[in-house]
Symmetry: C2
Subunit: 305 residues, 2 copies
Amino acid sequence: MSLVVVGSVAYDGVETPQGRVERMLGGSCTYAAVAASFFTKVGIVAVVGDDFAAEDFEFLSGRGVDLEGLERAPGKTFFWAGVYSEDMNDRTTLRTDLNVFADFQPRLPAAYRRQSHLMLGNIQPALQRQVRAQMEGCRLAGGDTMNYWIANTREELLETLKEWDFLLINDSEARQLAGCHNLRRAAQRIFELGPKTLVVKRGEHGAILFHPRGHFMAPGYLLEDVFDPTGAGDSFAGGFLGYLAGCGLDLEGAGAETGELRRAMIYGSVMGSFCCERFGVDRFRTLTRAEIDGRYQEFKTFTEF
Amino acid sequence: MSLVVVGSVAYDGVETPQGRVERMLGGSCTYAAVAASFFTKVGIVAVVGDDFAAEDFEFLSGRGVDLEGLERAPGKTFFWAGVYSEDMNDRTTLRTDLNVFADFQPRLPAAYRRQSHLMLGNIQPALQRQVRAQMEGCRLAGGDTMNYWIANTREELLETLKEWDFLLINDSEARQLAGCHNLRRAAQRIFELGPKTLVVKRGEHGAILFHPRGHFMAPGYLLEDVFDPTGAGDSFAGGFLGYLAGCGLDLEGAGAETGELRRAMIYGSVMGSFCCERFGVDRFRTLTRAEIDGRYQEFKTFTEF
């Protein structure tokens, strides 16, 4: 194992113009860990209820995901339901039942604390900081956050960010955190908060890597059919960090000419694109490394000039 | 001369978060011709009123733009005024005075008819067709259109498109014309209408080239300051077509491996990005070919992996 992923493991109910699923495996930790599992050995820290299905445990362990850090608590698993707009760029939350996730106190098994890479999914910044503090000599740590924490627990978040090597958020969150619209300027301000690598996710428009040595723009893959965009951003994070962890790279090693960081951005984009091709994590059930590398080459083909 | 550009030469009043200009040179033909003039010799077909300023004639001819096709009619020059939103992704039209442009009947001087490349700015499809018919043995012809013509003169537009080699429109127009949201599918449908090259402009998110041999994605340049996005799309068109005309390329020559079309896309993106750095055409008054090639290299730097 080299990568520890912390976040939510959940059940989701999703409706998109392509169809509807009442209840399926989801959560930020699930998507990131499953995507990363194609590149490296992953351990997860999350909580599920006693309703968590045997087949979902089996799917995760079948992907090689270590479940020692997956706590089982009395009660129900976090449930979220939402419906997407016609163009799938917006979604409306229909239901959020935090259930056992409301009292989530991430505790890292001893073996996890010595791992080299840490991905903190979008949970309370105070909890993210507690996890970071439990790691011993982690080479690369960082994560995600959201508008709610930026607006309501800003001081807490700023304390947390001080100890992160990278921050991986969407464009509106980057603008909100930095307090300016221009992304280049926003990146400069965020560097001053701690993270020296900023990944800005732009949905269908791809993602941008900001680094003191320059920026890199990954386009969004043009899918023929988008079935369900749920988890695409977390799958991006899993591909990005999974690739770096699989290569044993910290930011010093990856960033010398930012070459490995660029490749990690493309693997992130590849995993985000596959995620949208089926509902939930279904595309990852059959995905192969050959398909991943094939799509990576496609990215070369439609960006080279 | 190798490129003929047809469209509007206008005066614009523009307000953006960066400032306000009451009246300045603008119009689709102006932006496209000025951007193209950095790559090839351009002749324009447009109409202005008797209020058109000597300094604006001088600026255009100073850029090497042939003005034989620029008709002077009694009355006032087309005037447009608008105000941009805080993020500059939306704009509200405050005033549209068509003036002499209302009766624009494009007539090509004899010398223009033998040119190799034709860019038809966004005017009535019937007029675009008349111009196309006046060209003798043109190697590469195409242009722009807008939501109004797609919705209200669809049959006329479809007749016009049959004779175009390329179509250069924004993403919402491509979706509207093809009647489907997915851009890959939309491109396939548009190929069936005539143009075998489709350039989809996505504003700050760059542009996509669709071609039967594959697609190419150019990211949007991340500007530190956007002063005025007016004319950026037309400047893109000018850079794109100016580069192809300057190389003497038709789609057969440019498209064998789509290599020159890709380079044309980047030159288009470069010219669109420079356009936004000052109000109106002001950035083009001082721009040098060395700056253009420098930014072209920057595009390589932030897309290579």
